[in-house]
Amino acid sequence: MSVTCTAEDLVVALRAVSAAVVDHGDELTELDRAIGDADHGENMRRGFLAVAAKVDSPGQTTPAAVLKAVGTTLISTVGGASGPLYGTAFLRAATSLADVSEVDGVAVAAALRAALGGVVARGRAEVGDKTMVDALAPAADAAATAAEGGGDVPAVLAAAAEAAERGAESTKPLVARKGRASYLGERSAGHLDPGARSTALVLRALATAAGAR
């Protein structure tokens, strides 16, 4: 049986994402301390705690409506670059889902593709710039491949999460070309990009929640 995802499933998954972000807040802050301004953990924690509170309130009846609420909440609460970037990612994903009440693997892959497009446009970053794009781009590719192969939502998200984790690891030797870390030049090499790491974290939490059903 192929597993799909409703608005309710998505809310459950987002609570898991929020918990994962809170759990890993210190790790993200340490990564950002090495090459940025040491606020990524706190910004993400604040944003996703607000997301958890937001999705707990009723009224979002489609997956797209839930994702839209997540996007606007992140934009209003995060405060750093990850607010506009994650916010845009969730808003674009919401738009790509239109008003269907249940999404399948193909729709999830399309939503990830749309999210990537939004992040690239907003942040003007490409693969190799040592940003969250280095996690999200391979995740969108892996999701597309899994969906084309008939993968359901858990399979597509698992493929995306694994690719994102590998993508995040790949940022370690890179010299940053975007964001605060780019001011460090060569000294940014040797550290994971915090945004790529948090992207992998969010996708892993979504995949785990989807797989647990």
């Binding site: 301004d37 910004n43 604040r46 405060g79 607010g83 506009p84 907003r122 942040g123 605060r180």
Partner: protein, 245 residues
Amino acid sequence: MTVGLVLVSHSAKIAEGLAELAAQMAPDVPVLPAGGGPDGDLGTDYDAVATAVDRADRGDGVVLLYDLGSAQMTAELVVEGLSAPRRAHVVEAPLVEGAVAAAVAAQGGADLDGVVAAAAMAAGTAGEVAGGPDQEFAAGAAGMSTLPPSAGAAERGPAVSANVVLRNEVGLHARPAALLARSIADLDAEVVVEYAGTEADARSVLGLMGLNARGGDTVVVRAWGAQAEEAVRRVRDLADRHFDE
């Protein structure tokens, strides 16, 4: 016509200090600071920026300037979220120079495109500026080009001109330069100020400041156009009044 300005910074103090500076040069322009994150810490706050855009808009549009990456993204998100008839533009420019150039252009009555161009010219990013009737004015507001006097004069024909002694203490410093630019902003005249072989558009605060003319120095004011005489008279009066110091 009064275009508003919103200054988006990671720091509330930067935004507020710059708003104060710009307002001194452009007292009639709404210049709204939007600095700091949602918790009042360093960062940018979408809702604060959106509110500032609302308050800065008197119907003629708003120009937003920013400092670092996420401030740009937040400003763009706010602008994308606006619905008609609200009009706003995010301009890529150095924050301080861009804000001063934009404020003076707005004070002089430039429209939205003109203020955008003035701010963009402050960055020297002329390539990003679309052509249009305000471009010349905008280039002047940013004052990036000072021409050798002879080259300009030859094209423009005979000018009304006068030697003007800067009778104030600081010469063409920020405030006097802003007063001078403002005094002639509404006239139908092209006006330049020459000092030590360099010429600046008199509508350009930064250009005037760039002349480095000090108190006691003598500058040459030249004007062309229907109200050229009035323009020269106003500049001379202003200098005679010690720039109201």
